[in-house]
């Protein structure tokens, strides 16, 4: 090895060592703010701790055995699945459609993109309050408008399907811009030469999108679906503000049910067990989608 290449190798080693050192604060931060609370939650889930009655010092699988026979948990998983599947599907479809539309816009109109980002900037509680008003017949301008023509808009928040629809609409409105941003970035990474080549070969715009653009977008679509899906498992503000889990208990998604057990029923240990289950579900989905993403990319 020449002295020059030795110098280069030494410099590369020093650089890598520097990078490794720079990672240390991040590792410490993750350990403090993620791993420690996670370990605490796991320990709580095996305990019998109750906010009012305290603990008898018992540790075991009691809470997890209770989970298996809990009908309210089953209902909460159903609610969470419906909200997540339909919500994320709507966000990805609308986000992609808007991104494709905005991608072709040029000149000063490109500033119009900012408009589509507004819902994403609004805090979730404010979003929920806006949509609660819109779905409350006595407050809603939509109902007032249709009333002028003698049309009665149904009350969405008093039936399970209607309430879930309302939550999905509010969630989609505030979260589709995230999907739009990721897809827009991915579209900008696709060479326009491919479109031009397809046009020269006589392919229509729709065919070009389906057979050329969409396959190239697949990794981005998968990634954004994964991000949104994991985030959607944490349904809370929309439910808390718009329905309080009602009618009855019909919109209590799993995360909300964990809140009810922890804060309303003071059953901290059982709430932690539900949270652990939710964490495992999210981890499993992430792992599976990451594998799928790897396969598609390769």
């Amino acid at each position: 090895m020449s002295s020059n290449s030795k110098q280069r190798a030494g410099a590369t080693y020093e650089l890598e060592r520097g990078y490794r050192r720079m990672i240390v604060p991040a590792i410490i931060a993750v350990a403090i703010f993620a791993i420690v609370p996670l370990a605490g939650m796991l320990a709580l889930s095996f305990s019998d701790y109750h906010l009012i009655r305290g603990s008898n010092g018992e540790f075991g699988l009691r809470n997890f055995i209770k989970l298996v026979n809990d009908k309210r948990l089953v209902n909460s998983i159903y609610v969470m699945s419906v909200l997540s599947l339909f919500g994320v599907a709507a966000q990805v479809i609308i986000g992609t459609a808007v991104a494709v539309g905005l991608h072709k816009i040029v000149g000063r109109w490109r500033l119009g993109r900012v408009l589509f980002l507004v819902p994403y900037a609004v805090p979730h509680v404010a979003v929920a309050l806006i949509w609660l008003s819109l779905f409350t017949p006595t407050l809603s301008p939509i109902n007032a408008f249709f009333d002028l023509f003698g049309i009665t808009v149904p009350s969405f928040l008093t039936s399970q399907n209607g309430a879930m629809f309302a939550i999905i609409v509010a969630d989609t409105w505030t979260n589709f811009p995230f999907t739009m941003l990721i897809i827009l970035a991915a579209l900008q990474g696709i060479s326009p030469d491919l479109d031009e080549a397809a046009a020269l070969d006589g392919a229509s715009r729709v065919k070009t999108f389906i057979f050329i653009t969409l396959p190239l977008l697949l990794p981005a679509l998968l990634m954004v679906t994964l991000f949104r899906f994991i985030d959607s498992l944490k349904h809370f503000p929309m439910i808390f503000v718009m329905t309080k889990g009602g009618p009855g208990r019909s919109t209590q998604a799993t995360n909300f049910y964990a809140y009810v057990q922890t804060f309303q029923n003071s059953n901290v240990a059982y709430g932690a067990a539900i949270a652990v289950l939710l964490f495992l579900m999210a981890a499993l989905i992430s792992f599976y989608v990451a594998k799928l993403n790897q396969r598609i990319s390769s």
């Binding site: 009012i52 017949p137 928040l157």
Partner: protein
Amino acid sequence: MKRLLATAVAATLAFGVPALTTAADEEINVVMFGMPYTNGLQKLAGDFEAETGIKANIDVIGQDVFENRITLSFTGATGDIDVVHTPVIQVQRWVAANWLKPITAEVDAMAVKSDIMAGPLDAYVINGEQWAVPYMAATGLMTYRKDILEEAGVDVPDTWEDMLSVAAKIHNDETAAIAMRAVPGQGFNMFIFPMVMRAYGGKFFEDYTGGDLTPAINSPETLEALNVYMKLLNEYGPQGAGNFNFAEVNAAAQNGQIAFALEGTGVVAQIVDPAKSKFADKTGIALPPAGPAGRSPAIAVHGLGIPASAKNPELSARFIEWAVSTETMTKIALSESFSNFTTGPVAQNPEVIEKYSKVHPDFLTMQADALNLAIGHYRPLLPDWPALGQAIGENINAALNGLVSPEEALEGAEQDMKDILGM
């Protein structure tokens, strides 16, 4: 490496300096949820600082998030709250969890103690210790549209039976007959529904006052009450009434979309306030309707307590004494819709009397009548009440919105009560 250390030191200082500043200054943090008194108190924080030199950071948040905020603070014993809004319905739970500091000696030393109404003050005595000082005692009242009743040629309903027949006569597409809180929650539908339930002789436990806490909500009396509540809201309520909370009831009354509202006095004061409601001059006030077992207006006492983790309880006690003083209470009664004060001399202030007589001539008398009729354990004063109230409220709301039958709802509510109480 030097840069890294410098960054770490800067970060440490950035986090450390505010803590040092807080410790050096006389400053307290007060956390409350939004209502006329707390909003008024927040505006007077400067007066407290001018009088005592102590800076009070009064944080007024939504009722929904309040419980989560204080539960996280109390369980973590963070000491970041010096004075906390203490609803009487929560105080048993907080005392059982050792979240509050007993303040018997502090309250005994307050000059204002003899001016505070004895009933609300006693509501905060548990195991011989005082745990909070009341500032308001809200109750439940009914508002009605005088013009609509006159046009229909009917009297103000005195019983729930009367209400059913009047509602059938006046309900139409333009103006619904009645709205009440329906959304599930111990402070939401379970603040209102017991007014109907107790009027029909329904009860939560076999013998609450005698100490028999066997759940007894699944009774023919409660079923009858639930059927009345459901019929009124489903047949004579506005569209979407099954998801109404106090904000929606208030808005519907102020916009003239309903003829009757059954609400807490805090909301009633806004419905009849000409400054806030377009229909205030056409709105009357009455006691909640009676049933075969009599009349049972709601009651909710609110006060101020000191968390067990508070770092400087002496400053907290000084703040509470100032906050419930006749002078402060009078200022708030005059600036806000705040009439359910518990510091007696405020009611003798001529300006206060004049103000509330102008808002509505019957308001103060009706409120006093309702408070005289209310029973202290309208909602059971138990540590487990928040969980019980939530579970019962969910079942009642499920029946109201047709998810289960009324019979199934009461059966479910009783089973949930047994599960929560470990029976």
